[in-house]
Structure formats: C-alpha cells, structure tokens
Amino acid sequence: MSGLRDDTPMSQVVLHTDALDKSFTLHLQGGVRIPVLAGVGLDLQAGECVVLSGPSGVGKSTLMRSLYGNYRAEAGRILIRHHGAMVDLASADPRTILAIRHETLGYVSQFLRVVPRVPALDVVAEVLIGRGASQEAARQAATDLLLRLNIPRRLHGLPPATFSGGEQQRVNLARGFIGRHPVLLLDEPTASLDAENRSVVVAMINEAKRSGIAIIAICHDTDVRDAIADRLFPLMPLQDAA
C-alpha cells in the first residue's frame, strides 16, 4: 500500500510517512520495550479517505496519534503539506506542531476532553475564534453544525460533561469539522451513534472529501467504512521484542 503510484502528481499528496517506527518503553515495568509500528509508509492525497484496518491492538490508534504529534515518532518522517510546503511533523518543534494543528491538521479523538464548565457552543466555536473569526460568525457556524448533528438548541449553552456518550461524540465531531482542516484524522467517528446520526456523519465526511479534504479514519463499522473509504491501509501485528 505504500509508495506513490506513477500517475500521482506529487502536488496532490498532503501527507506522507516514511519508515515510521514507534515503540513504547515502560520504565515502571523494568524498562520493557513494546514495538508497535515499524517501517510504516503511508501516502494520503487531497480528497481521499484512507481507513486504517487490522485487528484490535495492532496499532491503528498509535499510528493516528503519531500522525497528530500526540505520540512521538521514534524514527522516520511524517511529512504534511502545511502552507504549501512539506513539513516534517516528526522532527518539528512544539510551536510548529501547534501551528500545523491550528491550520492544517484536525483530529477527532474517541473521547471529548474539554475544560469543565465551557458550553458546547463555545467548545465548537473556539477553533474559529482562535483563527480570528468574530464571536458571532464563529457561534453561527457552530450552531449550524451542532444542529446538523442533531444536537438540539437547548443543549448548546450547556457544558458537554453532562451529555450522553453519543452527544459528546457529536460535539467532538462538530469541533473537528468546523475548522475545515485540509487533513482530518477521525478515530471511530461513529462508534456510539445511532443509525440516523451515522448517516449524517457519513454525509459530512463525503462532502469534506469532495471539497478536497483528505481523511484518515479508524472505523470498525463495516457499513460506514464501505461508505467513506477509498482504500484500506492494513496494519500487521509486530512480534513482541524478546
């Protein structure tokens, strides 16, 4: 699955990983080393959705978190198209990673983690306000997106901590989609959603793709996967270190 196809113009590649390795060294467990990723080479083009596949525990979330800079890549490169240039996220300094996340790379995690007490609407609008949008414009965009995801207006002013799992996930999705980052990472975007909301999310993903947004997703729901994936990227289990 790795390597560029000959007919692919390089200009369309928005993310490219090269010999990416990741292991964890657990110092509190006698320094045991757990290798998870070895030599991962992945290409992602604008407007395409790649779904990571493989059994549970194979490292799909680890790869996704490494791509976001949440985990530190041990070896290899993670090149991402940021402001027209390919920047290596694996060796970038913290401020560059934050700038990339701000403008270029979005991430919807499995669980919402926010400051307590902040209303759902502000959680979602914050992304745009951080980019200099007016309070009104950002809140209007956030309201539209929350309504589309079937979060009723009466919940918009409440902090999401009290919401159900599915509602929290939809707030998380709204926050991930509102910034229209050119590269979007989705970790189980529909895991706790009912059929109606699943189809809303599928429609949002397909619209994003049509507008040129590139997506990497982890998705165990085969119906959703078939509806969004252009191709699968299989991960193989590694042997545990001796």
């Binding site: 110092h27 509190l28 800079g69 949440n70 913290p94 990673i97 700038a99 307590p116 902040v118």
Partner: protein
C-alpha cells in the same frame, strides 16, 4: 509567528546549602505562550519561577527579558527600581495565596485600581470604572466593589488577585499554583477564566503546578522537573500521553482517573 523569545534563561543553577534547587535549567518562552512547570513538591519549580521573575538570584546562569521595543534586559543585572517598574507594568505575578498579593484592608476596587495608579493613572472616575469592569470580567458582582477582601471566599480572593494582576495588561504573568488552594468546583471556573483571559489578551505565562490536569488544560508546552533538573520538556499533550522519562511516566501514571 515570531522567533524572538519573550523570556529566555540559560544554565540556571541555585543551591540552598547541600540542596540543589536548580541544576543547569534552560527556559524559552514566546509571546502569547503558556508554559507549565510540573513536578512534585521540592522539585524546584517555585524556585525556578522566583529566579525567572528576578525575585531570587541564581548562583549561575542568566535570564533575559525582551521589552516591547525589542531590547533585551538581563533580569538579574537590572537596577532594583527598574525591576520593580517591570513588575508593576509588563509583568504580573499570581500567588497561590492571594493574600500575598492583595491588601486586605483596602477595598476590592481599591486593590484593582492600585495597580493602575502605580502605573500613573490619576483620574478617579476612570480608575473606578476600570476596576468595576475587571471585577465583572472575573465574575465578581459590581456591588462588591467597596467591600473589603476579608469578606470574600477563597475562590473570590483568587479571582480578585487575577483582576489586580491583569488590569494593567501585562505581557508576561508568573503563576504559582493559582488553583492550588481551591475547591475542585471553584477550580474549574478559575481555569476557564484564566484560559479565556490569557488567550484573549495574548498574555504569555509561566505556570507552576503540581496538577498535571491543570497543565493539560492550560499549557501549550510543559517542563517536567525532578530534584532541580528539567527531565523532560515538549508539547503538553505529547509529554503527558507519551512520556519518555521514567519520572514523567511515574508522574502521569500516579494520577487518579476521575
């Protein structure tokens, strides 16, 4: 994005007798950035804050502050009056115990207005108006403006201290366990307030805390200290979710999951 740091320190070392409080510590802080310093009690984090802010002189090393005109100042070589002026204008300090910063026999409005007057504001009406505006921003009712701080709760005192510190629009704020002495319910409110104000006013801050949850919610970058040394530093969520150093792993794994 500018590459000029607001505050830089190199090779800071300080011993109290046989006790190494700081060992070759380097720090860089950029404008508008929140840097958290975490570690257990006695790891040197408050000492570091005091040295960075010029309140304590290191045995070795130096701290430079870049003023709004772009000129660098060696914080520990500055004449005392100049450093005091800096503390009253460009800088702010938020203590764990608000009583260290507030004057308990002066009204809430007076506490906020005093910092403006120290900067040269003289018009009583304007000062009072700004004081009330700031009380409002930290969610203290305007009708408490003439009350003495001793009638305030701990959370209100902390918010009053923040109003007093931020009223002069400092570029750099040092915070020592700002939520440390508060109930959890009050903490969340204060965290949200600090985050909102710091982001809106584009203030840079060095935040000392033993609570890595606080660091995660507020800080762009994090420094982990152990026995006076920086053992790990980087992007906050990366250091907390993928800690590399044994001590950071211990720190992260010791937190109770709520």
């Amino acid at each position: 994005m500018t590459d000029d740091t607001l505050l830089s320190a190199r090779g800071l070392s300080l011993s109290f007798g046989a006790n190494d409080a700081l060992v070759s510590v380097d720090v860089d802080l950029w404008p508008g950035e929140m840097l958290a310093v975490v570690g257990e009690s006695g790891s040197g984090k408050t000492t570091l804050l005091n040295v960075l802010s010029g309140r304590l002189v290191p045995d070795a090393g130096a701290v430079w502050y870049r003023d709004p005109a772009g000129k660098l100042h060696d914080v520990h070589a500055m004449p005392a009056p100049e450093l005091r002026t800096l503390h009253r204008s460009d800088w702010g300090f938020v203590h764990q115990d608000p009583k260290q910063n507030l004057r308990m026999n002066v009204t809430a409005g007076g506490n906020v207005g005093e910092r403006l007057m120290a900067q040269g504001a003289r018009h009583y009406g304007n000062i009072r108006e700004q004081a009330i505006d700031w009380l409002h921003q930290v969610e203290i009712d305007a009708n408490r403006v003439d009350d003495l701080p001793r009638t305030f709760s701990g959370g209100m005192l902390q918010r009053l201290q923040i109003a007093r510190t931020l009223v002069t629009h400092p570029r750099l704020v040092f915070m020592d366990e700002p939520t440390g002495s508060l109930d959890v319910s009050v903490q969340a409110r204060l965290l949200d307030l600090i985050r909102t104000l710091v982001t809106r006013l584009k203030i840079a801050a060095v935040l000392v805390t033993h609570d890595i949850g606080v660091a995660r919610l507020l800080a762009h970058r994090i420094m982990v200290m152990q026995r006076g040394r920086v053992v790990e530093t980087g992007l906050t969520d990366q250091v907390l979710d993928d800690p590399q150093h044994p001590y950071t792993q211990l720190l992260v794994s010791s937190v109770l999951q709520a």
